[in-house]
């Protein structure tokens, strides 16, 4: 087992994948968006509702996919619920930049548990997996904006 693989599939990630947070029926929420990874057919639908202060009241998602995409959506839910719209968009941007950096940019504190997905940056073909839920949430928030 290489260190890279160990760091990609940390226990935290495998746990989230097995037992994801926020999974449910997103259709009742204010905004929903469906995202698909064309290379494998994985899909996710992310729903979001905002409160009066433009903060995220709740995130609910449904979908199927690899452990990286499922864990990533699960971690995202915990991280961004209660963030303001602006904060959430900034976090999504930061997460994307980190993943695309090929390992050159370390996650800031603000990314919380999502830092565990840092190992994905080494694997170009998995970035889409890790981003799947985040891209859907981003689309929701842009609709809301």
């Amino acid at each position: 087992m290489s260190a890279d693989l160990q760091s990609l599939y940390q226990e935290l990630i495998l746990d989230h994948a097995r037992d994801p947070e926020g999974k449910g029926d997103p259709t009742a929420l204010d905004y929903t968006h469906h995202e698909l990874n064309p290379s494998c057919g994985d899909e996710i639908t992310v729903g979001v509702s905002l409160d009066d202060d433009d903060a995220i009241a709740s995130i609910v998602w449904d979908g199927h996919g690899c452990s990286i995409s499922m864990a990533s959506a699960s971690i995202m839910t915990g991280l961004l619920e209660h963030a303001t719209r602006e904060e959430a968009l900034a976090r999504i941007d930061e997460f994307r930049t980190m993943l695309r950096s090929r390992g050159s940019i370390a996650p800031s504190e603000a990314l919380g548990d999502a830092a565990a997905l840092q190992g994905v940056a080494k694997y170009v073909m998995r970035i889409k997996c890790a981003m799947l839920g985040w891209v859907a949430l981003e689309a929701d928030l842009r609709q809301a904006g």
Binding site: D4, L5, S67, C129
Partner: protein, 421 residues
């Protein structure tokens, strides 16, 4: 299959492939996606680019003459390799392009742009199978929409398989095109191409063979199979990227309207109209991938040197080992023909509780390159009840040790992801 045992593939064949011998850390089991190239092919391309490079079929200079000669003799060799006449081989970008050329040509015929015999009318039927690669499905869907024809398909069973009887059941008097893969890139099933070509002929339908997974691996005689059209790609048969072949019976090719038009395809052009050359030139619009044609010529020379019977026998052996390797691992489900039945040297499988991407990642970490995803066959995967499978595929340079390495790694996958708990 010949009666006599073919000469085996040379022991030292791996040394010919820099992508194999130069990467001893890697077990390359993704040849069904794209094959590695022997140094002979890489050098043939580079040497041509360095020393003989000039435009082909345009102008009259000596340089052009030399390049044109290299280009056309490669055509003769590729044609001979698949049992075609040299006028029956059209260069395309890839197999996808070749299949589209047929579908778009039929669309143009249906719109009155020539080749009346190919015209489809509303209610005519196009028949494919549920196992087709998207390259042999979407062009026919679009053709149906362009012409008002109906797309029908042969359904597959739980393992992704279909029989000639299943196909016969879908044939009608209105069937005008029957398109199917010679060898499925997901299940490894080998279709009875000659019988299907003859069934199609009986109802007056054109037969179109997707030979992407057969041309590289089996002795192929398209003339003898009796199909009307066929398509395959250079990059899956030791050749370069960017070169594919459309085969068509000469009399059909001469009449099919060329969908892609431009220089070098014509006799007379006025501002109003253009007259096209006979095949193959009528389809070869613009500057051709000359270097790649030379490379593909070198690839078929290399394969012919090894002997396609030897390649096939080697792979038949590996196919059995692959199936045994996969079937021996608890919690792993093999797609395609049952162990023991005939199949190409590829195995797609589903690991219970572990997504294909994760399986592939784990194998990759062990240095084993496989393919994960829907392999451009979404309807088939939908029928199998999964979004993605993992596929291991072999070629003449693959060894039994490599397949054993796959088996050993596979045994650990479910444990690593905790899917065995």
């Amino acid at each position: 299959m010949p009666d006599v045992t073919p000469a085996p593939v040379r022991e030292d064949v791996r040394a010919d492939f820099p992508g194999i011998s130069g990467r001893p850390d890697r077990v390359y089991l993704d040849s069904a996606a794209t094959s590695q190239r022997p140094e002979a092919v890489i050098s043939a391309e580079a040497d041509f680019a360095r020393h003989d490079y000039a435009a082909v079929h345009r102008g009259s200079s000596l340089a052009t003459g030399e390049a044109t000669f290299a280009f056309e003799t490669a055509r003769e060799r590729v044609a001979a390799f698949v049992g075609a006449g040299e006028r029956e081989v059209v260069w395309t970008e890839n197999a996808t392009d070749a299949l589209n050329m047929v579908a778009l040509g039929i669309a143009d015929a249906s719109a009155g742009l020539g080749g009346e015999r190919f015209a489809l009318r509303a209610g005519d039927e196009i028949l494919v199978t549920e196992a087709e690669h998207h390259a042999d499905l979407i062009p026919w869907q679009r053709l149906a929409r362009r012409t008002g024809a109906t797309l029908r398909w042969v359904p597959v069973d739980d393992r992704g398989l279909w029989t000639i009887d299943d196909l016969r059941a879908q044939l009608t008097a209105r069937t005008r095109v029957v398109a199917f893969a010679h060898v499925s890139n997901v299940t490894g099933m080998i279709a009875p191409a000659a019988e299907i070509a003859s069934l199609a002929r009986d109802v007056g339908a054109l037969s179109v063979l997707d030979a992407c997974q057969s041309a590289p691996h089996l002795p192929l005689d398209l003339g003898a199979l009796g199909v009307d059209f066929a398509a395959f790609s250079g990059h899956k048969m030791l050749g370069p990227n960017g070169i594919g072949v459309l085969y068509g019976r000469a009399e059909l090719l001469d009449e099919l309207p060329p969908a892609r038009t431009g220089g070098s395809t014509i006799t007379t052009v006025t501002m109003e109209d253009a007259e096209f050359l006979p095949a193959p030139q009528r389809f070869e619009a613009g500057t051709q991938p000359v270097t790649q044609v030379v490379g593909l010529g070198a690839a078929v020379d290399y394969l012919a040197g090894i002997g396609m019977d030897a390649v096939h026998a080697h792979e038949a052996q590996l196919a059995g080992e692959l199936v045994d390797a996969v079937a021996s691992v608890p919690g792993v489900r093999l797609v395609g023909p049952e162990p023991g039945a005939e199949r190409a040297a590829l195995a797609s499988f589903i690991v219970d509780g572990v997504h294909a991407h994760d399986v592939g990642q784990f194998l990759d970490d062990r240095g084993i390159t496989v393919r994960t995803g829907h392999h451009c066959a979404q309807p088939l995967h939908r029928r199998l009840g999964v979004a993605a499978t993992t596929r291991a595929s072999a070629y003449l340079y693959t060894t039994s040790d490599e397949i054993a390495a796959l088996r050993d790694a596979l045994r650990e996958v479910r444990g690593f992801f905790g899917a065995d708990r």
